[in-house]
Subunit: 218 residues, 2 copies
């Protein structure tokens, strides 16, 4: 069984992903935080919801070290600093970057970082020893944590390594939704920016977790 | 009744849009082309399908001059040249730009023009006298022309003028689908780039017209 670590896993997106992946029984799941005690507390509360001790809590670096697949769910302002803090532990692994480069307070405006996307920044920063893909930016934290309801949002996965994309697609399936190969890392700008559009749609159309589905498939 | 002109309307996307809008009975519909005879021939064939003379064919500039709302459906390589050819006729009007900045042969890679998007290029080129919005990039030409089948693709509309966005949303509704205010012109990069992702999904998943739906609405 592969181990997935969710770095910054005590924030908005992390706990819901941890719940879904733990529930699937397909992964060993670790929630990471800068504060190991906080990670443990969040893991405890998730385990209470699951009715089983399935999720572990660790310091971010320990979580990354223990993982086969590392998932990053931090605010954009903490993106590069967090990557720096787990750089040594990422070597040779797959990094699934969930970061959306939002520029508060204009969180419904798509912002394009100089490298092209947050995912491209991560890949540039980490170099070729880490295979970076983007995924899960469009799935609402609200819906992720509603364990009894199926996710009604597809996961678009971008990256330059096919095997790494397959890992992220498998994670989407373990969360009981669909994952799609959405092309090269260059396309991450679209998937990240779509989150800004969905945040705007939430506000304008009074939704609390707009998402997307791909239509027109055979 | 408002008049909508589809510039470059004899290509892939234009005829299907013309069919849907003519069928709705909500607009006078003109198909434009650089070649007036070709525009007329396409209008004739659409009218044959509709069983009524509803669509007119004209030279692009005449079509734009006659219209309240101008819709642009040309390949990216013809984008600025076409805008130049109808610039005088666009003043004071709404331009709905359907152009996707694809860079053949890499049509499944999202390309970002220097201005940020094709729509932003159009707005910069035309200046404040024309209100530019983007819409309809994600709707497949194949499905548009299948008049008997409802469109299974939402239309994301970006622009900096709320009334202009409302015109595009009304056009989406006339095509029997949903249009969403997807935020400022700055977000057009996402909607345009999503088409590259959908083209890639068509190839990888053997679809001929992948689209998107917004989920999670109240």
């Amino acid at each position: 069984m592969k181990t997935v670590a969710i770095i910054g896993g005590t924030g908005h997106q992390g706990p819901g992903l941890a719940l879904r992946w733990a529930k699937s029984g397909r992964y060993r799941v670790i929630v990471g935080s800068r504060d190991a005690a906080k990670a443990q507390a969040v893991a405890d509360s998730l385990n209470a919801r699951l009715g089983k001790r399935l999720v572990e809590g660790m310091h971010n670096a320990d979580a990354a070290a223990a993982a086969d697949i590392v998932v990053l769910t931090v605010p954009y302002s903490a993106h590069l600093a967090t990557l720096e803090s787990i750089r040594a532990q990422l070597k040779g692994k797959v990094l699934v970057d969930v970061t959306v480069p939002l520029q508060p307070p204009r969180v419904s405006h798509a912002y394009i970082p100089p490298a092209g996307s947050a995912t491209a920044e991560a890949q540039e920063f980490l170099g070729e020893e880490v295979r970076v893909v983007c995924a899960f930016q469009n799935v609402s934290a609200t819906h992720l944590s509603q364990l009894d309801e199926p996710l009604d949002c597809d996961v678009l996965v971008c990256g330059d390594d096919k095997d790494a994309k397959a890992e992220a697609i498998a994670l989407a399936e373990a969360a009981e939704t669909r994952g799609f190969d959405a092309g090269p890392l260059q396309n991450a700008v679209v998937v990240e920016g779509l989150t800004a559009i969905l945040i705007g749609i939430n506000k304008r159309y009074n939704a609390d977790g707009a998402g997307i589905r791909i239509t027109g498939l055979p």
